[in-house]
Symmetry: C2
Amino acid sequence: MQKKKAALERRSGCPLNASVEMLGDRWSLLILRDMMLRGYETFNEFLHSDEKIATNILADRLRRLESYGIVETEQDPSDGRKIIYTLTPKGIDLAPVLTEMVLWAARHEETGNQPLIRQMRTGKAELLDSVRERWDKLRRDRERLAGMRDEL
Amino acid sequence: MQKKKAALERRSGCPLNASVEMLGDRWSLLILRDMMLRGYETFNEFLHSDEKIATNILADRLRRLESYGIVETEQDPSDGRKIIYTLTPKGIDLAPVLTEMVLWAARHEETGNQPLIRQMRTGKAELLDSVRERWDKLRRDRERLAGMRDEL
């Protein structure tokens, strides 16, 4: 039901419009990059990424990504005051979008991170598979750990 | 040289950052969709698209897309006061980005345009090829016409 309501509130029914309404800003995809490729998971880690996002914008974007079901939060088991951010399966499914944006910029602009680009060019499918596998494993481990804690 | 200068002015050297600095807003990709998939080419056509972009924002986005070399303009040969917007090869190369964003939203959100989504799911490579072919042909025809006009 929530899905339908959101759709009705959009500017149009076009799927591309749905994507840009959720992700069309200068920061959200960079936060997802930090999670997906760099393994960042705390507010502080995102805050110190190269592009220097402002604290209030970061807080707003994380809240929005969570409300869209792209990111989820949990308390750090070793420090209850700390929040850990992880990608949901919906968030992991954005890997092909990020990959195509990286490849496009690498083709047409002067950019850094050439090793990643070479890996994406020569083995896009393998890279996407490994990102998905790593994240699926991470999720399973987390759920198992949470289950063990509940039993204690 | 212009390419290098732009890179130095960016927030980071990351290729994904280059992409979101150029395309990370709620409108640019929709304008490119209108050109790529719907064949729109005039200011007025973009203005009347479903999402109802405001005149000043549309003017700003078209100017930016042109400055990035994604879109180019020419005078309409049949009406010198009218400007025609077309995709450059760099703009056409965004087709995979648009496709992945459409597929992601179609998978996780309630959206319209199911026929396009089915076509993208079952024949992504063929669809991308046909978009590229159509646009390449359009560009060649335009250049030939411009050459003929210059000779007259």
